[in-house]
Symmetry: C2
Subunit: 193 residues, 2 copies
């Protein structure tokens, strides 16, 4: 078996700037289920940290309350597995703050890898991305809420992953499902299939 | 390219009989998000029908109200993509009813394929299951809510799929995420990776 370097993968879920229904730039509200589901997915696949990105003070307070409940409150004893998942969750005001934090942590700037339900430039295959990650390239996977990441975010990407096509051309997956599928494509154990 | 037969895959999400926190047999409540997310996943991957299995009249009423909103009410015009996803959703009182319905539809009893976060008998790999589906074998993928399918359901399975291991041994994925990952492993377009 080929020896693998330690993999350094983090996830960011962006709530601003993202696209609205008509393609306008908006800030979206944090969804409780996105916190839970993506934390559990991240924990399953060995993701290091899961950043909730929102510039809004009220949304940050909401996230803090949920985290408090599951990390220190009743939830932490009622469901220790959930506490474990929530231990990966971080709050950030902007994607720049996330990148700076990771660069400090890893002493290396991560590759900024965006995801999209549409066609983007700088696209590489899942197989190629997986190889880079296995080779130890620090990677920040960036997901957008609402109707996806604003073009200004995608423009900063080192590369982008292809839209998940399924077989039907229907491209309206929840972001929670996209995170699950993309983590499985990039980070699963090959022996597991 | 090898010619593929039409694939006949349906999904059932079972709310009774499933396991509770202490391993006891329970009936769980229908979760709104499971309806939405799994319908969107099913539509993406070309699943034929998505059955919500619950014997409880009040839960059936709840599902009907949600379906009504998205198929005929305000939701259907507000979000036509969601209407399309919900067009796959069916209600059933029991897994037996689902199997009989599919047998009538396909003139052939489907293979009953269960999923689990634990170790089960009659386990085959994802690769092998994918081959059988590609070869035209009608397949009913069965997922359990709460703490998983009751043993009496798994006992009826023709075969079962391995637990999704990720890389860490943490096995507390939401059922919504498991459906996304398993559909991607079994039904995705290989060119998409």
């Amino acid at each position: 078996m080929q020896e693998q370097k330690e993999r350094g993968v983090d996830i960011a879920l962006v709530h601003h700037p993202v696209l609205g229904k008509k393609g306008e730039i908006i800030g979206s509200a944090v969804t409780n289920l996105d916190l839970h589901d993506i934390a559990r997915i991240a924990r399953t696949y060995g993701v290091d940290e899961y950043y909730i990105v929102t510039p809004y003070a009220d949304q940050q307070e909401l996230v803090k309350e949920i985290l408090e409940h599951w990390q220190k409150g009743h939830g932490s004893t009622y469901n220790p597995a959930r506490k474990e998942a929530f231990s990966l969750v971080r709050l950030a005001h902007s994607l720049e703050e996330v990148i700076e934090g990771i660069a400090r942590k890893r002493q290396l700037k991560p590759m900024l890898v965006t995801t999209s339900a549409g066609t983007q430039e700088k696209c590489i295959s899942y197989t190629e991305s997986r190889k880079r990650i296995d080779n130890g390239e620090p990677t920040l996977l960036v997901f957008g809420t609402a109707h996806g990441l604003a073009p200004e975010v995608s423009a900063k990407a080192d590369y982008t992953l292809p839209a998940i096509a399924g077989r039907t051309g229907y491209n309206h997956l929840p972001v929670r499902s996209a995170v699950a599928i993309i983590c499985d494509r990039l980070l699963s154990d090959e022996n597991d299939k």
